[in-house]
Subunit: 482 residues, 4 copies
């Protein structure tokens, strides 16, 4: 059980036999595809930092199963301190990658199925927790990446899984065999799937008896027969094919999301974590979402980068002392730290589930994510305000390198005299990346919809708001006796 | 060292010889004045709950000086857990009183001078910490209320203390005697001063050498010769003189603030906590503000009451199922819990000062208070939205009780049939109280200016924002080498 | 047909035999009651300014019935230019009174019944328009004030008028006689009723066949037998009884709202404007609301006063040059002018109804009012921010006038040296008035609920949004063919 | 003087000898370059619609110089009705193109130099207005497109033009000859320059005596010797090179911006509109900005498309009846119409300049643009909320067309059963286009910075706010006599 290096991790990916499509063609070697590589780099960093003495404190933890040091991503939380460590890790990695580094979804999935499995077993005498533990030991031992797969494409949102015209629109069991089950379906927005060894599937909504075949959770290798991965387009994705660097804004790191189709995929019995216990589908969803919502502390780290980029652009424009600029940087920081506050608070206020694993405070976790659906948009807006319009009208790097006209750009895109024009161009592209480009997919839109769209959080806040208690408080003060 | 009951506390106040003015006349017996009584009730509750088995866990703590159980308000924080307990206590008391209960300011002052005194002593060989400890032992032993007094009236804000035309516009030492000092000045917005036994004064801003006589901190009894207390007016204050209940909205509890004049007040040597060490004035201000900002978690408790009142008013109007009503209650809850998150987070992330006392995380405390300057206004706005216009056009309780016309009100202000008209009138008055009346002074305007106006927090956020670090993060991502 | 002076107007009120109650007692002489007088002053100003050469251009217009000059308030709009004049008049009067001056509601009611009556007559061959014109001639000739009465108290909002347990919870016809009808019911929030000669009643919601008896509109004198007026309480209302001036903030002007009970009130045939044509109830509501929503341009004028007060307070505190203060004043101005923009726009875009009278653009009018439910709250919040906490902790005027302690206040509440302490106290009280006191009832809460609560506007915006057209635009761009 | 068709317009562009660079290479035939074509299409539409009986009312006007019908874009406003027509034209074209159609900048420039030239001539006896009129006649007669060029790249924003290290960082006269002047410099963000026949340059800031050589305004053909155009990159620009349609979101229309370098460009005397009258530089800037700010009414039209797209996506997802979805569409509409209100209001309130040309109301125009810097961001955020995450993780069109995997996408990206998967994919791409892609450059970031960044409007609002008047209003109410 040794922690792998980023390099070893990449080699392990190379051995996978993934079935990935992009732009209508099969990707022969994903680990070398320029559009995929930055996302792989981000994951690789989660390996390297676990071995870096400066960061191992944030990146690793003792396994509660073996007592050995494992990557925190492959850990089931055993204390509020574990939960807080996660949040701080997320921010740090956001700062270092300025993108989605794709791993929290797997950890949050593991945690959701772990604590739920215990409760299913208690009720039904099943042995799902044994399966989860065996699987956990495996990913800890091999230091693997697991993709947590929840979101079905859902077809008509007004209809339940079993009522859809096409029965596969939610992932389901199509065959039950002695040695396992066969599933059909599709999971959307699969973050980091191409960089993952395993895909851990969960139901996407609470279910009722009639949806029995849809109440299924399991894990299989990402290169299992029957799995097809269709890479999702992102804004500005093909800039990575241009062979330049400046125009990328963030040339080293990036995220990815894909559609993952399961076409008669076999799942062996020992990898099944739920099968037909419909009333527990909702618990997995709620716990996964609960864990995943404060994982968006990563956006606080990305926000730090964006605030820094905006501050740099102000320096380069020579306006860093303008009071309105300073005020906007303060506002961005305030919003960013407000998100961080709720991510921390829900973790510190975490509670032990019957399984012994810890769960964050659900109210504060939902509050955290609700703020995530708002503040990155405003932080991005302020960054664009500070940067100036050149952010979206700057010539290409190829123009800048051109012998014929590059000197014009060098001359006229100069900001303050002491700063190279290229530095200013780079920071503009970074702000573009995070507010309109590939980075914006992660920083902005994923902040809206990842871990549940805003309305999902509002429903939870409404459910947890305990309005009867609050009405009682008001009655006491107003001396209303009824 | 026994904890007093609320009743004993009130008796102890009765013995004070306070010099209080209101509406141009001296208040002969403050503990019986109908405008003052509700504020005293709120403080008395902090005594009674400390003796209530249900609440003693939140309300009391072991003194680090004596090991005996003391009211948490008279405690210097020894751990992050103490800090978190404070935040939860504040919310609970806000829920029970729906007003400012006036005690946190003294605790936060005690904590600020305690940890600062240690550092002054370290630098100058003074013995201020001994004085602070002696004073702390005294208030713990006698179970007293201390008012923390910071805000000078400041005259022309563009001028420093010693540059004001009238040298008394900031409190200062006017005479130094062998046995102590004599001070002149005035502290504004003194929360709960009439309900306090001691007043602990602190400087109000960072100072420079020339302001030496202004860099002074001490405590004296509130009935010391030379002290004059002029009671501040609040919106709707005189409704308490009408002899009715409904129109008050909150008939039992309330806050108060006053102007406190120090006219040649003598301070004995053993009650001096700072005298002339100008460079530490700023540390007291920063630490007091730091502690005091998350104390505004009390407003989360008041917010709970207001959310409850809004929900009740919707029930009484028969609109509780309207989706926009539910959505507004969710939004109010979301904003309220966002404040709570940052109050918790800055406490959990607290750090030990050299004195051993704990200080909250300054960045997150400022973020907390910044949100407090915004969200109660929006929560109040939404409460008014839900309540409906009758909140500000409802007839008086005397009309309702009138034999001639009361039956019209009974008939026409009826909401849903099952709820007495009086209940509806009561909840409307409570919402009025919290958004326009005496309660609004505490819930709204005090949320803006207490513990520092919004710009004070922005300056701190700007100072703590570490923009150079953030620029470095951006440079790493954009690969800017300079 | 001559325009009366304010004095003559007051004399005409004195002759009314109103049945007004306040604090459980009958008000013998409303025109001399200190709580009522400021509201009367505001209405009187609408008379005096009509005779003032500086303002007659905004205040008067040629009657389309007689060609004679009449107060614009007693006019049915004959052009978009009339509509724009109204909006500018409203702002000007808001600037001069800083309160609700109570007259627009009558004009908007007149306009709604006028244009609707035409359409009812067209459909049913009735002669309501003759009645409306006769009534209009009367109020023009006598230069009277008409209160427009729409809002019933509504009981259980989940039930229609005829389904309420108490059939009177919406105003209705209880008897039909040869010479007229007899009505029962109650109208809430009746703005300026005590200062009005006539009360023009309208239905409060769209109705269906079963609500026939509730679909009634008419006007009667305010002192008709059977009418009881119960004065509504406002925040800080009794300060007007204290015999002081500073503490009022606005000592000359104010608004008022009351509950008006109709207990078997007789309406002669020639004053009936609708009786049983249920399908037109909704048209009256929509047109009244449509006209009334941009009438909230008055709040822009009040906003001007509040912005001025905040700017003054900054001057007096010596902080007028701080960039954050300037920025807040700019933000307040921006929000205020945004409201003005939509009030103007909906008027300029007005259209002719079949009756020849002009109606504002409904979409933009609703947009205008929706902004009114938001921006005054934020403007008020910023005003409180700029003013500082002394706004809610300032001693009373009686303390200031006290020989014993007044000198302390004089000394310590001094701001910049050149400004008298009293001036600073006055501006603080004005800001208190407009954000927490009697003025806030009009500026804040009435902005929320007057002319319909926010959800009412949202429903209209949703109805007028023409989403099918917008979907068509999107399909064209995305080249979606279906 | 005949109006050209779009086709004729394109032919006229083909004849230009433009010196355009993109991706480091000279663009041989701009009118056929796939990245440029959509922007040209948008301009061509402004020709075709002027000839379309349905739209000519909005698109054309009688020239005040010749009385002949001209494209409204080549008109100097002679009435408030002209100004209002402009605003409505802008919205309509935004609806039809969902992008920046690039023409208003020229019209606003023409108007600014026209009215300013009159005032310069009055003061200095110059004949600039003759030049402007001659030029105006020319563009009317030939039905040309003029690019208005204001923004210099500005180097160090802390330094004035003549203080920059490189004197060319603001465009300037480098040589004065008998027959004209020679200029050097660079204009950034040149909207539609490649689709324009003429480029009309103006100073970018108010200037003082020392900046004499920078106070210059003129027009020259876009293919004048010495002009180099470097095409600006936009988010997702190269998708237009992929040969697909769906992925573009908006395949027919788009905007563009470019850097335009002037390297010793000659300007003949009759095309000079200002040369050295430094105190009038500020007037041109203010009037250009004044006219240009309400031109952003185009974004209201684009907003209509985005609202429609969001509504469509809700239909396709089957969630169109959810109350939160309806509420978000209403909010988007409300914000959109609020912008429209201020664009209309500032036009209706326009005033005649001494030249006879009309200028919008400056305060309301700035208020309009300030809202434009905020609301499209929020409208975009809500559109992303409604659309769902698939908006940023949808596979490419090539995947959809693929024989191997296209059927999976067809199956799993199906929403409600009655809608083709392709339709849903198209609307998702349109929302992506407008919130992250090429359309977002125009709808979002250009809304921030075009016609001046937000702080520029705030400075104007501060200047026009007339705070002294407002303070006077407050003093009147508070009865402050000084």
């Amino acid at each position: 059980m040794t922690l792998r290096t980023g390099k070893e991790y990449i080699e392990s990916l190379r051995k996978l036999n993934l079935n990935v499509y992009m732009f209508g063609e099969k990707v022969e070697c994903p680990v070398e595809h320029p559009i995929i590589v930055p996302s792989m780099n981000a994951v690789a960093l989660t390996y390297d930092l676990a071995l870096d003495p400066l960061y191992e404190g944030l990146m690793t933890v003792k396994s509660h199963l073996t007592g050995e040091k494992v990557n925190l991503y492959n850990h089931v939380f055993q204390s509020t301190s574990d939960l807080v460590q996660k949040v701080k890790r997320q921010r740090m990695l956001g700062q270092k990658t300025a993108c989605c580094f794709q791993r929290c979804v797997g950890q949050d999935a593991l945690n959701a199925v772990y604590s739920t499995a215990y409760e299913v077993d208690q009720k039904y005498g099943t042995h799902y927790l044994d399966n989860v533990k065996e699987f956990l030991l495996y990913v800890q031992k091999e230091d693997l990446v697991t993709d947590g797969a929840m979101t079905d494409t859902k077809g008509d949102r007004g209809l339940s899984p079993s009522k859809q015209k096409d029965p596969d629109l939610y992932l389901r069991v199509v065959e039950r065999r002695e040695d396992g089950i066969v599933v059909n379906g599709c999971k959307a927005h699969q973050t980091g799937i191409v960089n993952s060894h395993e895909v851990l599937c969960m139901p996407t909504i609470a279910m009722s008896e009639e949806d029995k075949d849809y109440a299924v959770s399991f894990s299989v290798p990402t290169d299992s027969p029957g799995i097809t991965i269709i890479y999702g387009r992102q804004s500005c994705d093909t800039r990575k094919l241009e062979g330049t660097e400046i125009d990328l804004g963030n040339s080293e790191f990036g995220g990815h999301e894909a559609l993952v189709v399961f076409d008669h995929v076999f799942v062996p019995n020992n990898r099944i974590f739920l099968d037909g216990e419909t009333e527990f589908a909702g618990m997995i969803v709620e716990r996964f979402a609960g864990h995943h919502r404060p994982s968006y502390a990563c956006k606080v780290g990305v926000g730090d980068v964006l605030i820094g980029a905006a501050a740099l652009s102000a320096d380069y424009n020579g306006v860093q002392k303008a009071s309105h600029i300073k005020d906007k940087l303060i506002e961005m920081t305030h919003l960013n730290e407000t998100i961080f506050s709720s991510a921390l608070a829900c973790s510190y206020e975490g509670v032990k589930t019957p399984s012994g694993a810890y769960l964050i405070d659900l109210m504060l976790a939902n509050v955290c994510k609700q703020n995530v659906t708002r503040f990155p948009y405003e932080i991005g807006r302020l960054a664009q305000d500070i940067a100036g319009g050149i952010m979206v009208s700057q010539p290409s790097e190829k123009d800048f390198r051109s012998k014929e006209i590059g000197h014009y750009i060098e001359k006229y895109l100069k900001g303050v005299d002491s700063v190279p024009t290229e530095s200013r161009m780079r920071v503009m592209r970074l702000i573009e990346n995070l507010t309109l480009g590939t980075g914006a997919v992660g920083y902005i839109t994923e902040s809206m919809h990842g871990a549940g769209s805003p309305q999902a959080q509002r429903i939870m806040i409404g459910r947890l708001g305990n309005f009867e208690h609050k009405k009682g408080l008001a009655k006491n003060i107003a001396k209303i006796k009824e």
